[in-house]
């Protein structure tokens, strides 16, 4: 018997919660026990996801020809994969080849998500071997003013929804004198159809830590908070472990990377309130209070967390900062169109065949996203509606599929890009029911401060229900428009103010869905 030690074969299998949700853990078990029975030494590195969720569980094997992928792998495929010699990259119906050559990834421009799904999320060695901390080192070398200028020139706009220029926000905080300033990461990713923040926390958490550290240096803040959600227990676990590892290795705390700069970071978890994604409600929540929206001014940049100047940015905004600092403002700004510079991680979800995360330069059309990249519905039926930008975003019908993915182009059509969610519905959807849900969601999640939002949404749901029942449809449609106008103009924040968009877009583009029972009742 040959007793010479054989170096184990390295496999990569995602630990992303979406992979777990379709059975990744069972695949890992099946592969581990099969290899043990064969006496074949293997090591399995758990990664984030590459974002092609219809291919999960995606198993990659390190071979001389690169990382060869197989997917979607189910536990019952495992014996066949071993028989096919997949540990050496053998042929098998599930063999996908190298993921770098996969058209779905090849078509992307991965700047923010360059590492996600590839590296061990908790390995600093992996992180630094793939360009990690290059941005921070450069930031330390050029100093606060030049960092702010670089971020401004990159054209980066906030990825949380409002699209506000990140550099401008940072400059305001940098210019405000105070004994303590804060960096707050908004990871309260509540929009249906979005999972980009979650994927970074699970797949590349050091990138966020680096981005927040750079923000701290830029504005003179020594303390940061990440506000995540209780719906993300797995992401929170990985994020906490990454923070601990960064402290252990001198990348957080006093004297980060021997620079003399202090940056402390803590993860906090919300408690199931959508409105806490609104920045001032989030700050209230971090302070231990009810998540009620604050009137502006004062801006958080002047009086934010605990009354101190605060940068509050979406997680993706912050996680994009390292690559901007590492590669330069021009490199980032060269991608995109108009005033939408750089790339956007578009999250394609719902009833779609190829759902996942697709990072690309702004400018791709909605039709290309849904029909091309997404490959149509999962059910194979025609697309009827696409909701963009979460629960406060409009429903787009296929006749608007020529809309380019760009902040201004979407706004012109009463839509929003928001945090990049795109949720596809097939022709079985009842748009009146979707309008009712939009009102109901607003009623459930309202912070209660403004009457039009708190009461209007409940009234709105009742009115839609009357329409759905075929009762005085014309009069109730007028009433619905009035209610929406009141909510739009009488609400302090976008929860009450934007709920009319999904509602009115449903009414405008799918009038037949609001008159179905009417017609039936008249017969």
């Amino acid at each position: 018997m040959n007793t010479a030690p054989i170096s184990p074969i390295r496999l990569f299998i995602p630990q992303d919660v979406a992979a777990l949700a379709v059975g990744a853990e069972r695949v890992v078990k099946a592969i581990t026990s099969h290899a043990a029975a064969d006496g074949t030494p293997i090591t399995i590195t758990r990664t984030g996801s590459r974002g092609l969720f219809w291919l999960e569980t995606l198993v990659e094997v390190e071979t001389l020809a690169g990382r060869i992928a197989y997917g979607p792998v189910n536990p019952h495929d495992v014996p066949g994969l071993f028989n096919a010699g997949f540990l050496l990259g053998g042929a098998h119906p599930l063999r996908l080849g190298r993921m770098e050559d996969h058209p779905w990834l090849k078509g992307q421009t991965r700047l923010t998500f360059a590492r996600c799904g590839i590296v061990d999320p908790l390995s600093l060695a992996d992180y630094e071997a793939t360009g990690g901390y290059k941005g921070l080192r450069h930031a330390l070398a050029i100093g606060p003013a030049a960092i702010v200028e670089t971020v401004t020139k990159s054209g980066l706009r906030g990825r949380g929804g409002a699209g506000f220029p990140t550099g401008v926000k940072w400059k305001t905080v940098a210019d405000t004198k105070a004994p303590q300033k804060y960096i707050v990461c908004n990871a309260d990713e509540g929009d249906s159809g979005t999972f980009a923040d979650r994927m970074i926390m699970e797949g590349d958490p050091f990138c966020l830590i680096e981005g927040m550290s750079i923000a701290g240096i830029a504005v003179g803040a020594t303390k940061g908070y990440i506000y995540s959600r209780s719906e993300y227990p797995h992401a929170n676990r990985t994020m906490r472990a990454a923070i601990a590892e960064a402290y252990r290795t001198g990348r957080l705390g006093a004297d980060i990377l021997g620079s003399g700069v202090t940056f402390d970071l803590e993860l906090r978890v919300g408690a199931g309130a959508y409105v806490c994604g609104e920045e001032t409600a989030l700050l209230e929540s971090l302070e231990g209070k009810r998540g009620q929206v604050r009137a502006k001014p004062p801006l958080p940049a002047h009086k934010g967390l605990f009354g101190q100047p605060t940068v509050i940015n979406n997680l993706i905004s912050l996680a994009t900062v390292p690559v901007i600092l590492a590669e330069g403002a021009a490199y980032y700004a060269d991608f995109g169109m108009g005033r939408s510079r750089g790339t956007m991680p578009i999250q394609i979800a719902g009833n779609v065949r190829h759902g996942g995360l697709y990072e690309t330069a702004f400018g791709v059309t909605l039709g290309e996203i849904v029909e091309g990249i997404g490959d149509g519905t999962a059910t194979g039926r025609p697309v009827k509606a696409v909701q963009c930008g979460g629960p406060l975003g409009a429903y787009f019908p296929p006749i608007l599929f020529d809309t380019p993915y760009d902040y201004e182009a979407f706004a012109q059509r009463d839509g929003l890009i928001g945090h990049g969610g795109v949720v596809v519905f097939d022709d079985s959807v009842d748009m009146a029911a979707q309008a009712r849900f939009a009102m109901e969601f607003c009623a459930i999640e309202s912070c209660g401060k403004c009457t039009p939002c708190r009461i209007g949404s409940t009234r709105g749901r009742e009115v839609v229900e009357k329409i759905m029942a075929g009762r005085e449809v014309d009069a109730n449609l007028v009433l619905l428009e009035d209610l929406c106008a009141t909510m739009k103009f009488g609400s302090l924040c976008a929860l009450g103010g934007f709920t009319p968009y999904p509602v009115l877009s449903a009414v405008r583009h799918y009038p037949e869905d609001f008159r179905r029972r009417h017609a039936a009742a008249a017969e």
Partner: protein
């Protein structure tokens, strides 16, 4: 995630210790409420005066915070908790149909617990599993691409365990 049957009943000393562990943090109330719920499966009413004392708040303020957030339970949950997504991406994949199937089968409504105390079903709005919809967390473990049948199987398996 520990099942509720193994959770300790109300213990004021344990609660005091949890509160004391966190009381020095800035904005300590939410972390403490999470820790109490983790320990007891809900936020027991007798914790309110303890919290008010420790954090220098009125009882009404503490109560106001607890009731504002959907996560915090006033009553113990069942031994198993199903957090089922009701948001749009899950709706697009017939999530509401799958959900009503489960609720009918268990004979409960949203937020309810089966009479034998084994299962609680709670609504959530997005788990970030929108590309593998409809989705749920069952005792903290994620499940995607649910059908009425697969969800029933997962819940039965949890109940038997």
């Amino acid at each position: 995630m520990p099942s509720a049957s193994h959770r300790p009943t109300w213990d004021p000393f344990r609660a005091e210790a949890i509160i004391a562990d966190h009381a020095q943090m800035p904005g300590a109330l939410l972390p403490i409420l999470h820790a109490l719920q983790e320990e007891f499966g809900h936020v027991p009413e007798p914790a309110v005066p303890l919290l008010a004392d420790a954090l220098n708040l009125s009882r009404a303020e503490v109560h106001g915070v607890i009731t504002f957030y959907h996560d915090f339970r006033h009553d113990p949950s069942g031994r198993h908790v199903v957090k089922l997504c009701r948001a749009e991406a899950c709706q697009s994949m017939k999530g509401e149909h799958t959900a009503s199937h489960l609720l009918r089968r268990l004979g409960i409504d949203w937020g309810g617990t089966t009479p034998d105390g084994s299962v609680t079903v709670e609504p959530v709005y997005c788990l970030g599993l929108c590309a593998t919809a409809p989705a749920a967390l069952v005792d903290g473990e994620p499940h995607g691409r649910l059908t009425p049948e697969s969800l029933a199987g997962i819940v039965e398996e949890a109940r038997r365990a």
